[in-house]
């Protein structure tokens, strides 16, 4: 993990600290708190999760009465969003909306830094419309109001809105710089009756790499690790990268690019990978041991492919590790091995002496495991 989405309530606290208007709100963690909620009705009741797509999944409701508020709180706290339980519920006064805008700052690889994005039509359908206006800023200190104003003129016809957007954009850059965020997005940025601009939502993504000098980021990572599924947590602690997928071939590989290449090769051979599992961060008996343990237990995994290309990695050491591990292993799921690169001649000998075959290429190994899994099924 390198980037971490925080909850809306956490994101809005950052906006408020920069004097960006947000609806009056209260964060609720218990039914008692819901009963004594002081926000004037009607209200929006919103699940607080660090996962996207919450609105479409029913995580945002309107409540017109105290009873509706309690019901909405109960319902939302019982839901799961991409496997995640809400940490709390945010209750906000219902906004009288004239228009919804979109405003964000985000890191962009081709800009080499921050990009400011604006659309005069924001809201949930932003992704279906034309792409937002883009102002490539780079370093935050390179933001120039006059340059952004010139870009905005043909897109935003209301000069008052334009000036307010410019002022908020500069503050979003300040927030991103000061808190080391890779994204600070307001969607929608609401034009309320009377013309005030109010941030109705906040999506803030923290740069995890900055945790060594940002205490808030470090504690957000610790909290997210506590919430994560046990297996993901174990892998993170052991410096393995795991993403579960839907297929049947358990894949243990080295390096992000090569792991994806192996996933694609499995697809090319007519099967599907069960995971992205990169052990290059810890190619030791402990690392491989955990990888096999997870895949042997996973019911959807029908066979395991170990594919490593040794660059700096000595494949003969990996071979020794695998021989010991396979001798101890109790699972009967088929395993196919492919160790290529640095000292792979030695690796082949070590494997052969222990009764295992080392496939010469990724493609040969993939073909073999896909065939074995297919035979076991039929």
């Amino acid at each position: 993990m390198h980037f971490m989405l925080v909850t809306e309530a956490q994101g809005k606290a950052l906006l408020r600290a920069a004097a960006i208007a947000t609806p009056s709100s209260q964060e609720l963690r218990s039914l008692d708190e819901a009963r004594t909620c002081r926000i004037e009705l009607p209200v929006a009741v919103k699940a607080q999760v660090a996962a996207g797509g919450r609105g479409k999944a029913g995580g945002i409701r309107k409540a017109n009465s105290p009873a509706e508020l309690e019901n909405a709180f109960d319902a939302i706290m019982g839901m799961r969003f991409a496997g995640e339980a809400p940490s709390s519920v945010l209750v906000e006064s219902w906004l009288d909306i004239e228009r919804e805008l979109y405003l964000a700052v985000a890191i962009d690889s081709r800009v080499g830094g921050f990009n400011v994005l604006y659309s005069p039509r924001g809201g949930v359908t932003i992704e279906d419309g034309p792409p937002p206006l883009s102002y490539p800023v780079g370093l935050a200190r390179n933001f120039r109001a006059h340059a952004f104003r010139a870009l905005l003129a043909p897109v935003e016809s209301d000069p008052k809105v334009r000036e307010r957007v410019i002022s908020i954009a500069r503050r979003l850059l300040d927030i991103a710089q000061a808190n080391e965020c890779t994204t600070v997005e307001i969607n929608p940025l609401v034009v309320a009756r009377g013309g005030a601009l109010i941030a109705a939502d906040a999506k803030v993504v923290l740069d995890e790499a900055a945790a060594f000098r940002k205490a808030a980021t470090a504690s957000a990572i610790a909290a997210s690790r506590d919430r994560a599924e046990r297996e993901i947590r174990l892998c993170e602690e052991a410096s393995l990268m795991l993403v579960w997928l839907d297929g049947e071939i358990g894949l243990i590989s080295g390096g992000a690019g090569m792991t994806m290449a192996a996933m694609d090769a499995i697809d090319g051979a007519g099967a599907q990978p069960a995971c992205f599992l990169d052990v290059s961060g810890n190619p030791t008996p402990a690392g491989f041991g955990l990888a096999f343990d997870l895949l042997d237990r996973a019911p959807n995994v029908k066979g395991i492919l170990v594919s490593m290309f040794g660059g700096g990695l000595h494949t003969d050491r990996v071979a020794k590790t695998l021989v010991e591990l396979l001798a101890r292993r109790t699972s009967s799921k088929p395993v196919t091995l492919r160790l290529n690169g640095t000292r792979s001649d030695l690796a082949t000998t070590i494997l052969r002496d222990a009764g295992h075959r080392n496939h010469a290429t990724l493609e040969a190994a993939v073909t073999d495991i896909v065939k074995q899994v297919g035979e076991a099924r039929s």
Binding site: E180, D207, A256, F276
Partner: protein
């Protein structure tokens, strides 16, 4: 020829007294690369594997006329080390480290551009011009001299891909790892421009992935009438949207970041597409064959 790094390279290693730095002195020597200096604050006057150590980059540059730097320091002090090296006048710098905060990557990139220096990295194995010199930690046996310029977002993929190209007789002028982070020194567009200007590079091979937008730089280049022929392999065809695949930048956030959208843009621009690693050597050979033929 090659890009950025040639047989006249005089390398200094910042962080030479660390584990990676000391390993690298021996590793580079085996790749016919001259390591002329090391830098470690407070350790000036010592030697590591016969290489003189200086307390500052400026002192090392003055004494040894180094012209390329390899930076092996922890992420927390990498920005300072890279700025010191850029400001000491070193024209070529590789910073392979990962886990670098994006704000620091942005500052490194801006400083390199301001000083006219080339920065390779972060989160990259570096740069190699096979048979000439190496500025990084990639395994030398994977590479062979030849006419192909290789650009890669992934270290592990570039090792195996180049091993396959070399085994198929398709050697490389230079191989540059532009890195797996969202903000980098030399980016895809800049690497392409360097290969375009190198007379010995006859074709370009691009190793990309899902996420981000770097691949569109190749599509834009390939559409030019004077473009050198190119081939591309993008990995992550089977990766689901919204999940990060190891690299910080390898995540499909929008359609434009998906495998299908990128491959379509590259294909339309005339880039030879390798659907899998298995098809890479053939795609590279096809691109090279176009370079050998006079334009119709």
């Amino acid at each position: 020829m090659s890009i950025l790094l040639d047989a006249d390279a005089r390398v200094l290693i910042v962080g030479i007294t660390g584990k990676f730095g000391t390993f690298s002195v021996k590793d580079l020597a085996q790749s016919q690369t001259r390591v002329v200096a090391g830098v470690a604050p407070g350790r000036g006057g010592q030697t590591i594997e016969g290489v003189p150590v200086f307390s500052s980059v400026a002192a090392a540059m003055k004494e040894t006329h180094a012209n390329a730097a390899l930076i092996y320091v922890p992420a927390a002090v990498a920005l300072d080390a890279v700025l010191e090296t850029i400001e000491a006048g070193c024209p070529l710098i590789a910073y392979p480290g990962d886990g670098l905060p994006v704000l620091d990557a942005m500052e490194m990139r801006a400083a390199a551009l301001e000083h006219g220096a080339h920065l390779v990295g972060p989160n990259s194995p570096g740069l190699i011009s096979p048979g000439k010199a190496k500025l990084g930690f990639m395994p030398s046996f994977c590479y062979a001299p030849g006419p192909i310029g290789v650009i890669s977002r992934s270290g592990s993929l570039s090792y195996e891909a180049c091993f396959r190209l070399s085994s198929a007789g398709l050697g490389q002028t230079s191989v540059i790892g532009i890195g797996g982070d969202p903000v980098r020194g030399v980016n895809a567009a800049e690497a392409i421009a360097l290969f375009h200007g190198d007379p010995d590079t006859r074709a370009i091979v691009y190793l990309g992935e899902i996420g981000g937008s770097e691949e569109y730089a190749l599509a834009e280049y390939a559409g030019r009438p004077d473009a050198k022929p190119s081939a591309a392999l993008l990995v992550g065809r089977t990766a689901p949207a919204g999940k990060k695949m190891g690299h910080a930048a390898a995540m499909i956030g929008s359609y434009a970041e998906s495998w299908a959208a990128k491959v379509e843009a590259l294909d339309r621009a005339g880039v030879v597409i390798a659907r899998d690693l298995d098809g890479l050597a053939a795609a590279a050979a096809a691109a090279l064959a176009r370079a050998m033929k006079p334009a119709a």
